[in-house]
């Protein structure tokens, strides 16, 4: 009964009720727009909008968001520091008492915002979408159902893999440490997490494949659906409003200095 951060939350929020394809298109628009933004203020506004969507439109519980925070921030933060220390800079700024390159700082922030926005938008999609609806939506616009189902299964099993990692971590924690070097111990544990999770993951993926094939999956080139896909008005409205906002943000951002 423990909690996991990467799964659908059936809370009947405004965002949950929007059709899956509109939300998928919205995520794509967020990503494309972010790559068109030319300065960090615009990117920060985009991130703020996503946080607004997450808190008010999708009503994601604070605890779920908090648990997902490390995953959301890790890549962006890594890239921030890589660029902060490696990007060639001609000017310097003082940051919390440290002198760093201004261009490196700006570049770091740029990558931090881009990655964080992409990950957060994808998380909002996962939290608010029954991925079966996404699969049916993709099939309705012509994607072969086997491919659509592959995406579906990958998302379906994210929380289960997370659960497996938790179980292995707990089991390893009580085995103790066989080396005096904490770093060597940490590396060994990581190797084992990977090994155990991959071996068990493959075994379980095989079981899943066997189970769904034995339930007729792939018997015919197409299949029937008890729930049809339909575009929602709120979904269309979301896309129109967001498109207008994105265009405004891109052009407004161009009036500011590039960073």
């Amino acid at each position: 009964m423990s909690e996991h951060s990467l799964r659908y939350i059936d809370n009947n929020s405004f965002f949950t009720r929007i059709d899956a394809l509109s939300k998928l298109l919205w995520v794509l628009m967020v990503i494309l727009t972010t790559f068109q933004l030319t300065n960090n203020i615009s990117r920060a506004i985009m991130l703020a909008v996503l946080l607004f969507v997450m808190i008010f439109l999708a009503r994601i519980p604070f605890k779920t968001a908090w648990q997902a925070l490390p995953i959301i921030l890790i890549m962006g933060s890594l890239l921030f520091f890589v660029h902060l220390f490696t990007a060639p800079s001609t000017h310097t700024i003082t940051l919390a008492g440290f002198v760093v390159g201004k261009e490196g700082f700006d570049k770091g922030l740029q990558y931090f915002f881009r990655i964080t926005i992409m990950v957060l938008a994808s998380f909002i999609l996962i939290w608010t979408t029954d991925i079966r609806d996404l699969m049916v939506g993709l099939v309705s616009i012509g994607m072969p159902y086997r491919y659509a189902f592959t995406i579906f299964m990958a998302l379906r099993f994210l929380p289960v893999v997370q659960q497996e990692v938790d179980a292995v971590k707990a089991a390893h924690a009580i085995r103790g440490r066989a080396t005096r070097s904490p770093i060597r111990h940490r590396i060994r544990l990581w190797q084992r997490y990977m090994f155990t999770v991959i071996v068990n993951g493959l075994r379980k993926a095989e079981n899943t494949a066997l189970a769904i094939e034995s339930r007729g999956f792939g018997a015919y080139p197409d299949r029937t659906y008890t729930k049809a896909f339909y575009w929602t008005k709120t979904g269309i409205l979301l896309l129109i409003l967001f498109l207008a906002f994105a265009i405004w943000l891109i052009f407004w951002g161009k009036t500011l200095p590039t960073s």
């Binding site: 519980p61 179980a167 390893h172 009580i174 155990t196 379980k204 189970a211 015919y220 659906y225």
Partner: protein, 587 residues
Amino acid sequence: MCTFVPFVVYLEEPSLNQITPEPLVRFEQVTYKHYGKPAPALSDVNLTIQRGSFTLLVGPSGSGKSTLCMLLNGIIPQILGGKLTGSVTVDGHDISKTPVQELAKSTGMLFQDPEWMFATLKVEDEIAFGPENLRRDPKQILESVEQSLNFVGLQHLRKNLVWALSGGQTQKLGLASVIAMETPLIVLDEPTANLDPATTHSVHQLILKLRDEGKAVLLVTKDLDEFMAEADDMILLAEGRVIAQGTPRDVVTQHGGKMLELGVWLPEPTEIGLRLKAAGRFNKPVPITVEEALNVFADAKFSASNPNGKLVAESETLIHAENIEFTYGNNFKALRGVSFDIKQGEIVAIVGQNGAGKSTLSKLLVGLQKPTAGEMTMFGRSAKRWKVQELANQIALVFQNPEHQFLCDTVREELEYSLLAQGIDDSVIVASRVDEMLARLDITDTADSHPFSLSAGAKRRLGVATMLIGGSAKLLIVDEPTYGQDRRLTERLMQLINNLRREGITVLMITHDMRLVDAHIDRAIVMANGEKIFDGSPDMLFQSPDLVERASLRTTTLRRLVEGLRARNISVPDGLNTVDDFIGALQ
């Protein structure tokens, strides 16, 4: 002429009866070898399953039961490969030539852990998944979903997410998904292995209902108690060969001794009959139900006292918990005001329904979680002050899936790791202790094997070994000791656990196995909805039907037999908790 015609008809009727209908399943000279394995998993198997029949498939661990099941829907050999000779036909289809997806119309299969069988997120979508694949009409599918939900009693959960279901509900959903496929054959491979006793009983009732609906059911299970008198057929497998096929009564009567020798789980009354027969103390038919046993032992006499009484530990308190609570981050309160003591040298069981808080309690005991309220003292120090790795020197936990705790590439390295983790790094001492532990747990021949490649029983023993080799553990916690193990392997593990207890190690088991509780446990802590509702001896627990029901437990068939005999005014002494006790007390 008038009198002649009926005579002719009379003569023809028996010959009509002799025409055997084409069986639903036919195995002819089937031998199968898994890819890359030297020995065949099945050898020269010949068997048939009739339409509408209810068949039990039994055998010890590793006897080929799951392999046989997977032949029935073509997963073997079509997906898993390997080498198959002979022929298997299901509903007229040759399983080697008919695609698995096509065979899905003939064979529905419920796996041991249906969580991995689920392909969607919601209950009703999951049931519709199979029929949708078969391109059935959506209206017809919705009707089928409705019927299947009604059949298993999950109508009220139709919109629920599949991961929000309890263990029993998950298994029922798996069954509903199979039923919706409308196949003539349903294969159930250990469907209740993970369930509490009461939920197991409710799933068993559904299986019998399926049989009543005219489906052919093939069931692999170790819980035979409720099926011996109900099944039409029993197939006994050992080392990939069919040892016997016939009615459960015939198989038990003719091959019961062999079944005991192989370690097949049998209902306790049957085991008693077989063992008495083997000892030459019994010349009546072997009972296969409690009711039959009551008649068979109607004139039995028992000695006044039971010689095999359990030890009662009265010693140092290792763990003291006072009103502890634990709440997960999602506000789910898993433990509510739980208090207990664990004393040195006891064997204690934590029992109760799925989701009652047993696993959470074990996490608290090994320090992976800390109580969110209340006070817990472990070895004289507050639980809050113990670090997981420090506590690991005092408390050993063997996980239900021991693979999770393996860290090395060989069994030997795995044991060496445990010693190094406790600061024992003298190579001579390490080698001698590893050798000693390998021999003690009978896994010496696997010392250089990868831990993941061991058999289920050996993995479980290695799990125990890694946790105990350091020599400092005072408390051993074993999660579901009998899970996936046959009777022989379980007895071996319990022998090991009893030896450890004699050495002064306290053992705490988390289990659904009431036979185990009755046979080996001094004290049972019963959990229900996060609360402790009982703490006492198994005898006291099972004498309270309300408590048993509230905790989703069931009394063993042996207890039902003893109670039945007492109801017939036969004097049966207290403390007959095992088949050995019963036979020992029988005059």
